[in-house]
């Protein structure tokens, strides 16, 4: 007795549970490496994390599986080796340095002598760890906007309903069960009986036993027909209907406005830093909302909405008037994104330069028009790597910075930071979105 079984179609991911346990176990280490990788890596346009996942290498501490085994040093041991060429008894060989000689760890179950452990995280796992512990800002004070539509949801079975909701499978199952229980004669048995009767009736002459038998058969047929009538094929009792209940379906949608200064003073480096920030913001919000949209607004002394490609790579010359971008954002919100349907996020990047007294105008626009309808607004100022004075002192700064500081004092969901290197982006981003329920003492932990 033997057989072949094709297991290839079996459900995949049998070891998913093991993997989850492993990831939880290695969480701390993995997180450290993910943070590092996102800091150092140049983020490509688009998703930022390759679809096939992200390779991480973590130290094995915490993942060791200790065993009792013999130390590879000391003592007296004999090894039998193959391939003797010209040794004779008594020859001496220098002890190999560093390596512990052959056969030192035979007893260990898996040869995990290595200090590092590499494997691949899926995109989903990567993002989850990347944004672990981060929260949407300002959830306490202002609930996120959710639109509600009415849909239906299945809600089990009922005995009454409309024919179009009839659940055939359940109904027939009940019917079959009832027919078996009540011993309803089958169509086949009835037909057989009828055939027998027909056969007997076809005879011209019937012997007395045959006549009696015919009589008995007829009686039985009568009984069967009666019983089949009483015990119906489908009884109203059998009927089952699917039921549906109306349900509110929540849709949450978010739009991210990316505002960037593209005047001559913004070079490749500045744009690259800004891009990293926008990208992180987008990835993060995409995980928080069912649907997110991106709007790119670039500005010099006038602002325009552009596509992503143009936003990051096209060159533009002109002066710098920041308020034009804010005006544009306000305009687009009014046109396309009613605040009672959309969660609005603003992210602005600039090198901090602005024309004349335009900064005051920016302040007023933000405070009066934009911040009241936004969930969150972040301003990132990109400064020269040499400008340490600015980095260390939040009070110093040009006109725009000073005005934004005033905005920050008045609006909690407004955040501003300075960056000078790619490595700064991720920590700042985390700082923006750390839960701020208990003030700032938890930040940075």
């Amino acid at each position: 007795m033997h057989h072949f079984i094709d297991r290839r179609a079996n459900p995949k991911g049998k070891s998913l549970g093991n993997r989850q346990r492993f990831l939880r176990r290695a969480r701390e280490n993995i997180k450290e490496r993910v943070d590092q990788s996102v800091r150092g890596k140049s983020i490509q346009s688009g998703s930022g994390v390759p679809d096939e996942g992200e390779k991480v290498t973590i130290p094995t501490r915490g993942l060791k599986e200790p065993r009792f085994f013999h130390s590879s040093k000391g003592g007296m041991r004999r090894h039998v080796l193959p391939g003797n060429k010209d040794f004779v008894v008594g020859d001496t060989i220098k002890r190999p340095q560093g390596s512990a000689g052959q056969g030192g760890r035979q007893a260990s179950e898996d040869g995990d002598g290595e200090d590092e452990f590499s494997f691949t995280l899926t995109q989903e796992e990567y993002l989850e760890i990347l944004f672990e512990g981060l929260e949407l800002p300002d959830l306490v004070e202002k609930a996120t906007v959710e639109t509600e539509t009415i849909g239906t949801r299945r809600a089990g079975l009922t005995t009454a309903g409309t024919p179009n909701n009839l659940n055939l499978v359940r109904t027939m199952r009940n019917s079959l069960g009832r027919r078996i229980a009540l011993q309803r004669p089958t169509t086949k048995s009835q037909r057989e009986l009828e055939e027998q009767i027909a056969e007997l009736e076809a005879l011209d002459e019937r012997t007395p036993p045959q006549a009696d038998f015919l009589e008995a058969l007829k009686k039985r047929l009568e009984g069967i027909i009666r019983k089949r009538k009483v015990v119906g094929y489908i009884d109203p009792l059998d009927l089952r209907y699917d039921t549906f209940v109306p349900e509110k379906i929540r849709n949450s949608r978010a739009v991210v406005f990316c505002l960037m200064d593209v005047s001559g003073s913004m070079q490749e480096r500045e744009k690259d830093l800004a891009k990293r920030f926008f990208l992180l913001l987008h990835l993060f919000l995409e995980r928080c909302y069912e649907h997110t949209e991106l709007v790119f607004v670039r500005h010099t002394h006038h602002a325009q909405e552009v596509d992503e490609e143009t936003f990051f790579y096209a060159r533009e010359t002109g002066g710098t008037i920041v308020s034009t971008a804010l005006e544009k954002m306000k305009e687009i919100i009014e046109e396309r994104y009613p605040p009672d349907e959309w969660n609005i996020y603003g992210a602005q990047a600039s090198d901090g330069e602005n024309f004349g007294n335009d900064s005051v105008r920016c302040k007023n626009l933000l405070l009066n028009d934009l911040l009241p309808v936004s969930q969150f607004y972040a301003y990132v100022e990109i400064v020269d790597e040499a400008a340490e004075m600015l980095l260390n002192n939040p009070e110093a700064g040009e006109d725009l910075w000073q005005n934004y500081r005033e905005v920050k004092a008045q609006a909690q969901h407004f955040e501003m930071q300075r960056v000078s290197q790619p490595g700064h982006i991720y920590p700042i981003f985390r700082e923006f979105f750390l839960p701020k329920v208990k003030g700032m003492q938890h930040a940075g932990s």
Binding site: R19, F68, H70, M76, R77, V80, L81
Partner: protein
């Protein structure tokens, strides 16, 4: 007779396999395996799996069903990374010691490989599992699936009830002592007095019998009687807890003062599985040698009978040659002695000694040199030996010369390694003994036993590591394992190293 008629026509032609072809090939293999070689196998259940499922099976120590634990996830991630980057291929098959005997074949194999793999696993390994004494005595091939299913469900239920972290803690600790969770020499101890008392109480009406039993045990335990004089408490404890005890997991399961019943059950699961896998650890050379010998014999027979094409035969031989390759010690590919190579060579050698014995063979193996029934000699070896005793019994001077084996002595006291034996008349016996020792698990794995635990006193668990040849335990890992052990014992744990007094 039909087979002879069909013999002219090959079983298959071309690389693609189908279930019909595999069925045909299996029947042809079975014909040779059972009629010619006289193998005795469990019914076969051959399953075709994909690469990912093979990785799955890898991570779960080759078992078809396993409880969930992070270490399996870790192994999976590592094997997957190695496989995806092409640094490690996957096995062609995995075979499980069960009844019916399940073997997994990879879907990527060609038809020729599937044939080879069936001969290897479904008949070679299968015969070994069914007939070797270690497997017969220590494993329950028919019950393993049910036990694995029980283990998986039990641990999942524990996770639900006590939380995954609590379960993980116990499993981590139990895994750390897996190699100390087997009975090496004897069956689990007989019920202790305490347990006997409990059993007696259950069976009412046997109370009078109990006192007879007490008298009997007291009067027969002469050795304990001597100790009784020295330290009555100690001796009572030893008797009550079956000390010294080599199976630490068993000891903890029975005597830990802090473990809950469910935790004890988890320890039991881990040690039962360790015990189930223990015979496989002791018979790597024999098991692989047996399977390799069988597949080699069968493919040659198939080829002789014209049942496989020359192309398929060449493909199988190519794979066979890779498997039995033994790099020399100074080869960069060298990583110890290849169990396939050694096992296969020894079994071919046994056949040679039976068929064409030399004078030397007659001197060394008077029992079977020239025995016309070489199949019987091999079957007997497969049934009654494990690696250590098999090598000790059957390694011939001819093979020692062929492998050019030599013994290197590594004494920490000396500045250099010394070549102590080479493949000459003076060295054969010593090399054979040294090589056999290299496969003796009792020698390879540290000898650690529970020697005392005073539950009424300080409750310290005392372990003794018997040091042989001055080889101590690896200290870093030792500390980690002891931490786990303390968690399971609840009180302090001490591990003493004692030099072995007698030369083994």
């Amino acid at each position: 007779m039909q087979a002879a008629e069909k013999a002219r026509e090959p079983l298959f032609d071309g690389p693609e396999w189908t279930f019909e072809l595999m069925e045909k090939a299996r029947d042809a293999i079975e014909q040779i395996a059972l009629q010619d070689l006289g193998l005795d196998v469990y019914p076969n259940q051959i399953e075709i799996i994909s690469a990912e499922q093979m990785l799955d099976a890898y991570s779960c120590v080759g078992l078809p069903l396993m409880y969930q634990h992070w270490s399996f996830g870790k192994h999976f991630a590592r094997d997957e990374a190695l496989y995806r980057t092409g640094r490690q291929g996957l096995a062609y098959e995995i075979v499980i010691n069960s009844n019916p005997c399940i073997s997994y074949n990879m879907e990527e194999n060609t038809m020729a490989m599937q044939t080879l793999v069936m001969a290897h696993a479904a008949f070679g390994h299968n015969h070994f599992f069914k007939n070797n004494y270690l497997f017969q005595q220590w494993t329950d091939a028919a019950g393993i699936h049910d036990y694995l299913a029980f283990a998986k469900n039990y641990i999942a239920a524990c996770e639900e009830r006590y939380g995954p972290l609590a379960v993980e803690e116990v499993l981590d600790a139990a895994h750390a002592m897996q190699s100390q969770g087997v009975f090496r020499y004897g069956r689990p101890p007989k019920p202790t007095n305490e347990e006997l008392v409990a059993m007696q109480k259950v069976r009412e009406g046997y109370e009078s019998g109990q006192s007879v039993l007490d008298i009997w045990t007291d009067s027969t335990m002469g050795r304990n009687k001597l100790e009784l004089v020295e330290d009555a408490d100690f001796s009572a404890r030893r008797k009550m807890m079956n000390l010294p005890q080599e199976n630490i997991l068993y000891f903890l399961e029975k005597h830990s003062p802090v473990l809950e019943p469910w935790q004890c059950e988890i320890l039991r699961i881990v040690r039962m599985l360790a015990q189930y896998l223990y015979p496989q650890k002791q018979t790597k050379v024999m098991n692989e040698g047996c399977a390799t010998f069988v597949h080699y014999y069968i493919i040659n027979k198939l080829y002789e009978q014209g049942q496989i094409t020359q192309g398929a035969y060449m493909e199988m031989l190519h794979s066979h040659t890779n498997v039995v390759m033994q790099p020399e010690y100074d080869d960069p590919r060298y990583s110890g002695i290849n169990p396939y190579a050694l096992g296969f060579a020894m079994m071919e050698d046994i056949r040679r000694i039976c068929q064409k014995p030399t004078d030397e063979d007659r001197e060394w193996f008077p029992d079977f040199a020239g025995n016309p029934d070489w199949r019987g000699v091999l079957r007997d070896a497969w049934a009654n030996y494990r690696d250590e005793s098999f090598i000790q019994q059957f390694l011939s001077p001819n093979l020692i010369r062929k492998f050019k084996l030599f013994t290197l002595t590594n004494d920490a006291e000396l500045p250099n390694l010394v070549v102590s034996q080479i493949h000459n008349r003076a060295g054969y016996k010593a090399i054979r003994r040294d090589l056999a020792k290299q496969y003796d698990l009792a020698y390879l794995e540290p000898d650690i036993q529970v020697t005392d635990a005073d539950l009424r006193g300080d409750r310290e668990l005392k372990l003794t590591h018997t040091v042989r040849d001055g080889i101590h335990l690896d200290e870093d890992d030792q500390e980690e394992v002891l931490k786990h052990l303390r968690r399971l014992w609840g009180y302090d744990v001490r591990l003493d190293a004692v030099e072995a007094t007698t030369e083994s």
